[in-house]
């Protein structure tokens, strides 16, 4: 272990420079973030991730955000264990009917001001699961959505661009 840690001191870090903001996300957020919210949020985001019926592909890419290449915590973005500690709910999946109540309860447990980011193609409108007896057909069918990050699943860089846009908007007039 000593050798590994020692090597780490001298090797260049894996972490890559921050990506540019996603212009589409910036546009979407311009309409959804209020002045007060921007002040409260400051420069950090606490995110509670909720899988509301995803295939787990989105979860894999959200996990990847924490690896050494993306190192999401350097931007003040962190994933928290409880909705009560969260500013943002990051919701994946078409929202199955079996998860509807749990998603609502999680939303209600999140203190205001709060934002909802729907992640992945099926979180928008159900995607390829739309029309099933077992799905609601998108996050917006159950709770209000502020930002949608498309992709199946969106690669980590794209998720990061969306989240950074959320931070930048919040920071602009703070």
């Amino acid at each position: 272990m000593r050798d590994l840690l020692f090597q780490g001191l001298f090797r260049r870090p894996h972490t890559e420079p921050a990506p540019a903001l996603d212009p589409v996300a910036v546009e979407q957020l311009a309409t959804s973030l209020g002045e007060l919210a921007r002040q409260r949020l400051g420069r950090s985001l606490s995110i509670r991730e909720v899988d509301a019926g995803s295939c787990n592909g989105c979860e894999l890419e959200i996990h990847a955000l924490s690896n050494a290449y993306y190192d999401v915590e350097r931007f003040g973005i962190r994933f928290v264990a409880s909705p009560r500690h969260a500013d943002v709910l990051l919701v994946t999946g078409p929202v199955t009917k079996n998860m509807r109540d749990a998603l609502k309860a999680t939303y209600e447990a999140t203190p205001s001001p709060k934002w909802v980011v729907a992640l992945g193609d099926c979180a928008r409108d159900g995607g390829c699961f739309a029309g099933s007896y077992a799905v609601e057909g998108g996050v917006a069918a159950v709770i209000p959505v502020d930002l949608h990050i498309p992709g199946c699943p969106p690669p980590p860089l794209q998720i990061l661009q969306g989240l950074l846009a959320l931070l930048a908007r919040a920071d602009a007039k703070a």
Partner: protein, 502 residues
Amino acid sequence: MPSLSDLKREGLLAPQQRPWPRIIVDEVLWSGAATSVAERRMTLLALWGEAGAVHMALLEQATAEVAVISLNCPSGRFPSVGAQHPPALRLERSLHDLFGLEPVGSPDSRPWLDHGQWGVTAPLGANTPSTPQPPYPFLPVDGAGLHQVAVGPVHAGIIEPGHFRFTASGETVVRLEQRLGYVHKGIEGLMSGASLQQGVKLAGRVSGDSTVAYSYAFSLAAEAALELAVPPRAVWLRALLAELERLANHLGDIGAICNDAAFALMLAHCGVLRENVLRAAAIAFGHRLMRDLIVPGGVRRDLGADGRKAIEAALVSIRQQLPALVELYDETASLQDRTVGTGVVSAELVAQYGAGGFVGRGSGRAFDARRQLCYPPYDQLRFEVPVLTEGDVNARVWVRIREVEQSMALIDQLLDNLPAGELLAPLPAIAADGEGIAVVEGFRGDILVWLRLAAGAIARCHLRDPSWFQWPLLEAAIEGNIVADFPLCNKSFNCSYSGPDL
């Protein structure tokens, strides 16, 4: 009790199913087959329903023969397999929820997938408006000083939703009861009437971490039904995709298991190696998780020189880094203290449940579909199937470490011997009927897909995730361990929620 050849002799062979036979049986033979499974003469591979019939896929281990047996049940009732063979219970509860077919004699009539939220009962059967359900009755637990901890469906980490009900005496878990079904999307309902193109897209979204393996199994089943031969280059590229998927998942999970024992250093290093594989996949095939690449007929994208170089570079990085990480895992006493002897599953249980993947192979069940069922190109490749007998978290980690090494050796062979030629055989112009079945070894274990085509469209498709036979063993593994070791045990299984919830 009937063997597979007895069933073939006494039942009625259904036409058009390939490559393994489907045999229509009566209630007596059906129950006899259930007894054979309970007595371990055969392994239950899958049990599923459709309107008016139930089907069971069976594997005879000694001969590596597979067959499906079917029982028509116009009355809506069939003799319960779960009554004799507990691993069938959740499967029967699910098919009851979906089709309304009643397993007669089943000791557990509680719903499984149906949480009373769909607005209908038996959505794929009678599909009638539902009435409110009573609260789900968890199993009763009696005893002095016991307390319960209820967890989920929304968990603390970034994982899929499910409910765990722990009963503990002090810190020790006396019983874990799982309640799943939260991510049931109704995929089998969406499959009915879908085209093969829509079908393979859905199959690739049953469990995202196994998107290659699912689209692979679906495509093999569809090609069997259509009697379609796939170009050799596509056959080999499919195995390349499957091994890259296995590699990425194993690397990520080895790190994540150590992280659940509070050893974050392994996660950091393994996370880099996993990312290297995903980035190579993105360069080689245009998608990090290699989604929507395998389709009936072949593969949709060729491997170019850049892609080959990227994959080779990823392998070089793993070969440079992994030995030191494995040594670190093996020599860190505080980590070994957590993984050795924790979450033990007996060889008896994995044999009874026919558990596949590293869960089975960590407890002495030497089954790997690539070896036993020997589908191409694995019949032409050299690889070992690592098997350990300890059955603890450590054994499951070691099986995965050994499988990383095997997958890398397989990728070398695949890249060195990749045949030239076409990628995609055209689907037949005539809208055909037929039935096909396939089993593919995903990173988690064997995935089974059965489908029936009618006039070229999917009439019925069943996809059986390996986790069906692994989840119940997690309930056994945690017994007698402390509550704080549950995340560690759970991660060492890494069962899919989306896969079995479907």
